[in-house]
């Protein structure tokens, strides 16, 4: 990938020392900024809102939400799918791009992985909360009980349990293993003894010996290999929650690929939404360069086109199937009570990304930021359209209904941002947001290639 005319992935004039200093300083040297405090306070407030909403939910039951018959799934499932989708970029960047030797990934993979973890944490909440009786969630797990019963393996929800938990575990390990050498660096560079101790414990006694490095590389590569199929599997399984059902608008074989594409699409959108402010705030423009943003933008364009293709295929198939229910579903999405949502998603997910054909836009952080935000909104709306419009008018007109989210639906959604952001702020404050080791290595490689 080292085509000379390309903008570099690291601004010139850095050696590994300065790289390390610059990154670790963000955590160790920088004083607790007003900006960070304000941001964290805001995020924490939202988190408390979530806690409040959950508390009331457990006291009263899911009836506080707007769900009903026929629309028995609402915000909870929409949020779940959306967050899980966002959780895809991280592993994609670290695992797949690693295997493809995309050196530009190095400066953003740590950050993206963290984002993945936090997104999955948010996502994990909703399947539990949306249960009518959350306290018996463990019945979905296979364990030897006194009833002589097991989960019902034909149900995609059981597959979900495994897909999501596996994904969460592997991403966590992958992220942590990647962190170990950096934690050691933090340990060595942090002054106060307690801090040294904490980082030291987390670093698991890393000494940077050749043996350590050999094992580290091996483990990291293996985990990357493990994580790669998961990127594809998780959202495929999630999509099966819908595809397996007979509901018009859900019952479609295109869902797995189209969901995965959508997931990566939204994932990168979220990466940009977060990276652009962060690199500005912490002055990391030299490491997270325009080239990174541009590459992310390119991936968004590609996956965005796949998603658009998904939409078109869906519409074509409902016409081609000549199934009266399916045709009605499609028309209902476009012109029914929820038409605005559908047009909004078309605007955000199909129209807007086309701007990314232009380099001038791909290389303009401000515009990219807005664009990424729109895509986030669009992808959430897409899930809303899939879940709600498909359910509210299915087979028997007599059973058609309408769904209005209540304030509790909104509180839970907004609250989940709180959880996500709080974790993110803590991460920025306590851990190196960019992989020091990989950056250092990158700088060395560059130097060598220049010397030759």
């Amino acid at each position: 990938m080292n085509v000379p005319d390309e903008t570099p992935v690291v601004a010139p004039g850095y050696d590994s020392g300065s790289v390390t200093r610059k990154i670790t300083d963000v955590v160790l040297a920088r004083p607790l900024g007003r900006g960070w405090l304000a941001g964290f306070a805001f995020a924490f407030a939202l988190l408390m809102l979530l806690n409040f909403a959950i508390g009331w939910l457990l006291i009263r039951g899911v009836g506080i939400w707007g769900i009903n018959i026929p629309v028995a799934w609402g915000f909870a499932i929409v949020n779940f799918v959306w967050w899980i989708g966002i959780g895809h970029a991280g592993t994609f960047i670290s695992a797949i791009l690693l295997l493809l030797h995309q050196d530009w990934r190095t400066s953003i993979n740590r950050f993206a992985e963290a984002m993945t973890l936090f997104a999955v944490a948010c996502a994990g909440l909703f399947p539990l909360l949306h249960l009518g009786r959350p306290w018996v969630f463990y019945w979905l797990l296979p364990y030897p009980d006194t009833m002589g019963l097991w989960p019902q393996w034909r149900s995609p929800l059981v597959w979900d349990v495994f897909a999501v938990s596996t994904y969460a575990t592997v991403s966590l390990m992958f992220w942590y293993v990647g962190l170990i050498p950096d934690l050691a660096t933090m340990r060595d560079r942090s002054a106060p003894r307690p801090l040294q101790f904490i980082y030291g414990v987390m670093a698991l006694g890393w000494r940077g010996s050749a043996r350590h490095w050999k094992r580290f590389k091996m483990a990291y590569l293996l985990l990357a290999g493990l994580a790669t199929p998961l990127v594809l599997s998780v959202h495929s399984v999630v999509s099966l929650d819908f595809a397996v059902a007979i509901v018009p608008g859900w019952h479609s074989t295109i869902f797995p690929p189209y969901f995965v594409a959508g997931a990566i699409f939204s994932g990168f959108a979220m990466v940009l939404t977060l990276l652009i402010p962060v690199r500005k705030a912490y002055g990391l423009q030299d490491f997270i360069t325009i080239r990174h943003l541009e590459n992310c933008a390119k991936i968004m364009l590609a996956t965005g086109l796949m998603v658009a293709h998904g939409y078109i295929t869906e519409m074509f198939m409902s016409w081609y199937s000549d199934d009266k229910f399916d045709i009605y579903m499609t028309l209902n999405r476009m012109f029914g009570p929820y038409a605005p949502a559908w047009w909004l998603l078309m605007f955000c997910n199909v129209l807007v990304p086309q701007a990314l054909w232009f380099k001038s836009i791909r290389t303009n952080p401000a515009i990219l930021f807005v664009l990424a935000l729109l895509v986030n909104v669009g992808m959430w709306t897409e899930r809303y359209v899939i879940v709600v419009t498909s359910l509210h008018r299915d087979f028997l007109p007599s059973a058609w209904g309408i769904y209005h989210p209540t304030r509790w639906d909104w509180m839970t959604l907004i609250g989940s941002f709180g959880l996500f952001l709080s974790l993110l702020f803590l991460f920025l404050r306590l851990l190196p947001a960019i992989s020091i080791t990989e950056m250092g290595k990158l700088v060395l490689d560059k130097k060598e290639s220049r010397q030759q």
Binding site: P144, D145, T146, M147, G148, L149, R187, D188, Q196, F197, G200, V201, L204, G205
Partner: protein
């Protein structure tokens, strides 16, 4: 820069990791065991009653048949608890002034029923029917044990769903001749399976439907 950790830190770290795993597994084990413990199911736990009624004395001692008190056991889902006047049929003559029987006499006088503590308490969403079991050759003792040897009555079986299913899966292993149903001391023969199969034939005990959810839950 001084060493942050002593040599034994490695040992501690390993121990911590191992320990974490073990503690987790241990916790699971405890929950698993507790759920099956007699403490949890109240198995073989004699319960205090308003009157220390002894099945041992009345059944073994006096040879009173189950149906004398549990009148509806062959007709109804509920086996029936003896109304006070059933007790008084005898105890108006024998033990007329025994202090332990004071509650019974009170109940008779002021018409307020005795409040026994349930020994076999199935959850409300389980619909067990005594009559069909008794009429198809399941003996009282199969679930209630040797009440004729219980001075105070206790629950003989754990009453897990699994325990119910064991029999519903293979009723042959528990069927007995209809005339033996109320015989508490009946012991199933060596060839129980053969006997059971023939009895199942005779009394139309079919497998299909026995393990349907709706057989017990509605």
């Amino acid at each position: 820069m001084p060493q942050l950790f002593k040599r034994r830190a490695n040992a501690i770290a390993n121990a911590a990791i191992m320990g974490g795993v073990l503690i987790f597994l241990g916790a699971c084990g405890v929950v698993y065991a507790l759920g099956r413990s007699d403490y949890w199911t109240r198995k073989e736990e004699p319960l205090a009653q308003p009157v220390p009624f002894s099945h041992e004395h009345h059944v073994a001692g006096l040879g009173i048949d189950c149906r004398y008190c549990h009148t509806s056991v062959e007709k109804s889902s509920f086996a029936g608890m003896p109304p006070t006047d059933t007790c008084m049929t005898c105890h108006s003559q024998v033990w007329k002034d025994a202090p332990v029987l004071q509650p019974v006499r009170d109940s008779m006088q002021n018409g307020r029923p005795l409040r026994w503590t349930r020994v076999y308490d199935l959850p409300d969403y389980v619909y067990f029917d005594h009559s069909i079991h008794v009429n198809k050759g399941i003996g009282c003792a199969s679930c209630h044990g040797r009440v004729d040897q219980m001075p105070m009555t206790w629950q003989e079986q754990p009453l897990y769903m699994r325990w119910c299913l064991d029999c519903h899966w293979q009723p042959e292993m528990h069927l007995r001749p209809l005339e033996e149903v109320f015989n508490l001391s009946y012991a199933s023969p060596k060839n129980q399976f053969l006997l059971g199969t023939t009895l199942a034939e005779q009394n139309h005990v079919s497998h299909d439907g026995l393990t349907d959810c709706y057989t017990c839950h509605r």
